[in-house]
């Protein structure tokens, strides 16, 4: 009961700040609301018994990612009126189609999650205790390939950023 109240309170805050992020006129304020949103998501992780993820959420998202967002905001010319940003090559229909596709996908995942049979045996018992240790154990045994792929993803992100900024260097 208490947990349900805490969950819905946090969920309300998360959704509320998310709405503020997209409705605020000032882009910098929007990013600052995003920080609050990330912090509340971290609180949600704590509630879900995932303290490691909660700390990472604060460290990486509320810390690093938001700084990145702020620098991106500082890159663009905020003083130009929005009409001046109108791009003749803008593909509104394609964007709408992709948005609907993502929405359908998320809906399918949600339906699948609620209707699939619950796995009774979670595999071999882990030889470690503690949240961070268990995350590590799963990551470095069962999910080894995704972990190594993650490093490739980081490499692509790094090279992509450098290529995008190259002309300036």
């Amino acid at each position: 009961m208490g947990q349900a109240i805490a969950f819905y309170t946090l969920a309300a805050f998360i959704l509320g700040f998310a709405v503020l992020v997209v409705t605020t006129k000032d882009t910098v304020h929007s990013v600052l609301f995003l920080v609050l949103d990330f912090l509340f998501v971290a609180a949600l992780y704590v509630l879900l018994d995932a303290p490691f993820l909660a700390v990472i959420q604060v460290l990486v998202y509320a810390g690093g990612i938001v700084v990145l967002y702020l620098f991106v905001v500082m890159l663009v010319n905020l003083k130009r009126p929005p009409e001046a940003h109108h791009d003749p090559h803008r593909r509104t229909k394609l964007g709408l189609f992709l948005a609907v596709a993502v929405l359908l996908e998320l809906g399918a995942i949600a339906v699948y999650q609620t209707t699939r049979p619950v796995l009774s045996v979670p595999g071999a018992p882990m030889p470690v205790t503690g949240n961070t240790e268990q995350v590590g154990w799963l990551l470095y045994t069962s999910y080894l390939i995704p972990f190594e792929i993650a490093s490739m993803l980081l490499l692509v992100a790094m090279i992509g950023a450098i290529v995008l900024a190259k002309r300036e260097l």
Partner: protein, 118 residues
């Protein structure tokens, strides 16, 4: 379980409360006499040259991007380090492969001069 987070909750409440209290209390006390110098971002120090909401160099973005990437790399090392004595050599090789792939990117960034601020 959740009771371990009570100190953090108290910390958040006190920090937020202090900030709000300071703002409200000073707005009740201070006289409202404004002039040009008072409304500047810094009353003492370097005089502002242009509007702060100007376009900044893309190098800031690049530095932030590289920071986030190596930040995430370090994050992956935390759960690895706490169970290193269970993973043994297998874990060491895994992490070396992971770091090697990112070192390729590091070398590329270095060669491209992305780490220099000129």
């Amino acid at each position: 379980m959740l009771s371990a987070y009570i100190p953090i909750a108290i910390f958040v409440v006190v920090a937020t409360g202090f900030a709000l209290f300071t703002l409200v209390f000073s707005s009740l006390l201070h006289p409202e006499k404004y002039n040009k110098v008072k409304l500047e971002p810094y009353e003492c120090g370097i005089e502002p040259m242009t509007d702060a909401r100007d376009r900044y160099s893309i190098r800031y973005y690049l530095v932030a991007m590289l920071f986030v990437i190596f930040d995430v790399e370090t994050v992956f090392m935390f759960p690895w380090a706490v169970i290193f004595n269970k993973l043994l050599l297998f874990g060491l090789i895994e992490m070396l492969v992971f770091i090697f792939i990112l070192l390729v990117g590091y070398y590329y960034a270095w060669q491209k001069g992305a780490l220099e601020w000129v």
